[in-house]
Subunit: 342 residues, 4 copies
Amino acid sequence: MVHIGVIGYGYWGPNLVRNFAETPGCKVIAVTDLRPERLSAVKQRYPYVKTTNDYRDLLTNKDLDAVAIATPCSTHFKIAMEALKAGKHVLLEKPLATTKEKASLLIKEADRRKRVLMVDHTFVYTGAVRRIKELIKSKELGDIYYYDAVRVNLGLFQHDVNVIWDLAVHDVSVIDYLLPMRPYAVSATGMSHVANQPENIAYLTLFFKNRLIAHIHVNWLAPVKVRRTLIGGSQKMIVYDDLEPSEKVKVYDKGINVKSDAKSIYKMLVSYRTGDIWVPQLDITEALRTEAAHFVNCIEKKKHPITDGESGLRVVQILEAATKSISCKGRPIKLTTMKIAK
Amino acid sequence: MVHIGVIGYGYWGPNLVRNFAETPGCKVIAVTDLRPERLSAVKQRYPYVKTTNDYRDLLTNKDLDAVAIATPCSTHFKIAMEALKAGKHVLLEKPLATTKEKASLLIKEADRRKRVLMVDHTFVYTGAVRRIKELIKSKELGDIYYYDAVRVNLGLFQHDVNVIWDLAVHDVSVIDYLLPMRPYAVSATGMSHVANQPENIAYLTLFFKNRLIAHIHVNWLAPVKVRRTLIGGSQKMIVYDDLEPSEKVKVYDKGINVKSDAKSIYKMLVSYRTGDIWVPQLDITEALRTEAAHFVNCIEKKKHPITDGESGLRVVQILEAATKSISCKGRPIKLTTMKIAK
Amino acid sequence: MVHIGVIGYGYWGPNLVRNFAETPGCKVIAVTDLRPERLSAVKQRYPYVKTTNDYRDLLTNKDLDAVAIATPCSTHFKIAMEALKAGKHVLLEKPLATTKEKASLLIKEADRRKRVLMVDHTFVYTGAVRRIKELIKSKELGDIYYYDAVRVNLGLFQHDVNVIWDLAVHDVSVIDYLLPMRPYAVSATGMSHVANQPENIAYLTLFFKNRLIAHIHVNWLAPVKVRRTLIGGSQKMIVYDDLEPSEKVKVYDKGINVKSDAKSIYKMLVSYRTGDIWVPQLDITEALRTEAAHFVNCIEKKKHPITDGESGLRVVQILEAATKSISCKGRPIKLTTMKIAK
Amino acid sequence: MVHIGVIGYGYWGPNLVRNFAETPGCKVIAVTDLRPERLSAVKQRYPYVKTTNDYRDLLTNKDLDAVAIATPCSTHFKIAMEALKAGKHVLLEKPLATTKEKASLLIKEADRRKRVLMVDHTFVYTGAVRRIKELIKSKELGDIYYYDAVRVNLGLFQHDVNVIWDLAVHDVSVIDYLLPMRPYAVSATGMSHVANQPENIAYLTLFFKNRLIAHIHVNWLAPVKVRRTLIGGSQKMIVYDDLEPSEKVKVYDKGINVKSDAKSIYKMLVSYRTGDIWVPQLDITEALRTEAAHFVNCIEKKKHPITDGESGLRVVQILEAATKSISCKGRPIKLTTMKIAK
């Protein structure tokens, strides 16, 4: 039985408590938040859970095996580091950290203490993304040509981070999970429309070997909500629309055939192929439920989670580089090769 | 009565002939194409029109006032220049030319001979784009923050030009018409997925003064057809979906209010506004019909067309810079200021 | 302060408890259900609420002013009647009763004891339906020509009632609220696709004076979920799509103009009108919240609720007649005129 | 080589001429229309075709093997009968006739003279409907439970026939082609919203043996265009949306399983099944092209067409009964069994 504490009971914390409370093999022991009214909310709904306004009470609690941290971005590093040093397994809200240096320190600390460090890249655990992963792994799409994601709406302006760290982080983590390669460079553009505020609209291009390219469009100031990804492969193509209630993933048997026939070199090299469309049924388990069970399982089996510290670090590195590229109006930024355990 | 000849009767030529044939104040006198079977097609449908396989027959025809040119891109400059030198008014398929030098030469020649030089930027003449122009001019949207266009489908691969010159040209010409400023730089990325072929997927960012940004996504290799543009303003926002049969332009009374209140500086500076949506009725006249009438009117009234040589040149300059930026993985390319007559 | 008890804590009961718990001016005192595990669920979430497995404990509780009943349909009459006789105000799940005789008895009992009797016709309290009511009342639509509702999905088969009593009840209650007249006859058809089970697909036509007609299509066995209503008026028309996340009500400035011009009698009497579309912003308060507040307000102010016993009776009468018409393959059934207080 | 004449060059006639002109094995010889300007239009486009304002010129023309008739509904019988008596094969606009007596006379005349009599039930020849036919025949859907069609828009008011004869005729003819049984009764309701004009909105229910039911909703006065059909089967279900540009037919692996397990009789007999969705690629040949080729083939091979006189008669019988039912507010009308050749 894994005993869990949750740090932060604002927007996301209640989802963490609810899901861990309903996950077999673990128990929510304590919740902390600075605001008394949030702790009252915990008490009313979960009378058996201990509450405190000092997160250090959780770190010194010997009964606790693990903590889930859902505090503001700027506090992630400090709290997560203290938790690891106190011997707790850690599930941390995305992003893992605000710089790759801090992300690396967390990874090292977790390794040294043999603790699970997991980043809450929620979309990786959706039925849709896991199904797409299977399709890509089974080579059903052929070679992947491009990945194009749009994630826009009239969203809450963040004041400490730009729209990349708030929204593109989702797509970058999904790309990290899905694609068979790591990007070697990023070019990004963006704009802030409010004085003294970070960018609220941004466009990222990720460059990979073998003609693979990825692009992400994020916007906090759009009139409509769009969450749509196109994935082009040499054999098949996917439209993944997260707002579709029941047909989120569509697989198109469409594409081009390229002939190297001698005669056609001077004419048309490309012919078109269009066939059936297929909409696979998806696992509709709540992503956070799957993720909570995975965290518990990794603690019990001493395994590396899918969204481990390394994946969190790779995502942070890309977001950092993209932010730098934006300030240079799209100048490409090289992504340094990192030693990656797996 | 303006007497018109059409050069090229392939994909677009029949639309030109049909529309000029039905435009009051002009008459289609002659059509030329290299292929006999295309000329037969002309004869069967328009028995009264002269046909020839040599376009120079049209240029030497004293009865002709103007020519419309719908030949392959690489021949535009040569034919248009000869036509202007022969004293004909010219309507030329987009793009105006393949380089800004050639575009400038055409403009100068037309100026010297006082002939109308018009580029066939068809989308500028749609009811949707003209309605959006009114909304922008009337300040209904407030200040324009961004312009975001997507134009993708499983389209015909071109072999002599990349997807920018084939598809993005439409959006760049609409942007040139709609937006109150000229861009000062462009960053673009893209990829070719067929060996020895030009890019089939591309992303362009245009930078303007006053926090305005524009982005264009074009793709010949998409599983679905999308023609959707978001326009964000400080007061209202627009979704323009060209594939919607009857609700192409939607105006959203949505946005943010930014307060500089002293107290809120440390809290939330941005509040959200969401109101009604309005779908204006549009003029559904075929764009090319409106355009044909405009060409005839400019000839008769000795006026500059909306999509004149200057606008064609500005579009070509952007496409050239974007193509260069793609080869540098997004490095921004400055757009030199041009002297513009109007 | 109105003290409320909730009878039945199955599918709908938790929504009633949650909404009354958050409605100012009232307090949830007690909840009853036959199943111990459901009472535990109440206790965990609302530790301060009394629980019992005997609903009569609520009726004899002097502290209680009112009860909300969310038990199976067949028990509605008995429990509601006992509650009224015990002097409680009653909010009753739809339908009010299974026959119009029972419905009438409840109305009389409530009148005699001066108690509020309200039926939970939830859709009447949605922002969408209330907005449409305003549009109809203000004559913005002109004369109402037709009301056409579709409510289908792969839904839970009920075993004691057919699809009309489960789904069409929503549309009939909305029609009762929205339309300015009462229907005088109903024709209905339907079919059961499971042996010994009630109809799972049905079509109702309601006939009104002045050329007004209403039609309802309900189906438990549809491949897709549809909740769409068309309302045609002489001036404007509405599309009300309850599944649209943010554009539920669209007002079309479309219709026909009919001329009685002498000359045109032998030609075309009808001309078409098509104009802008308008999507009004809606109140997005949860319908049940609005409804709970209305119930409390009616108790305090001794008012008749919008969905009072009379409206519940009118709905029951239509459902009874429709069920009879189905068994006669569409033969029209006359709706007897009822004395209606308001 | 089949020589064809076309009678009537209004709305539909040009489509007939164009398609027969491009169908191998036949030739359009002559076209007739009462209006000189329509004949000029023929001449300009097809200089080789003879034109006349007297349709009898076509019937006496020995060179003609067949005529296609696209005249107003009320003239169908007279012209078609004269054509058959003149020994011509006949393709006749839907509906075959305005009464089943007249339809029967045409069938007898065609039989006696061994001429092909074909009704232009265009939708039967679409790729979508032919694909659905295969799915039904192959038992992929299992037993058919219901067929539900909606065909509404702001359409042209007809003055001589109601909306059933104009729109529902399409769905009735598709039902006749697709479903494995004939209906035994019809109930219909409807309304006219313009004084002295026929019904502009109508609802038809067709009753079949074996729990099969069909319903058609047609409306000339709708704010939006809808062309959507749901087909429910015991194994799979179909959504056929004719307005979808590329995904017209979707096959849902959804439904219910009914268990007759003794224990569950008192509990839940029905369980739900939901699986993948599949969008088959369709033949996108223009329906009228397929139909024209079929007509020519039937003449050459002396075969009965798919949409022969008998199918036209069955459709007319249903439309007649439905019109009668409307005037009786839904009273069901029995459909008499007809002797059918095939």
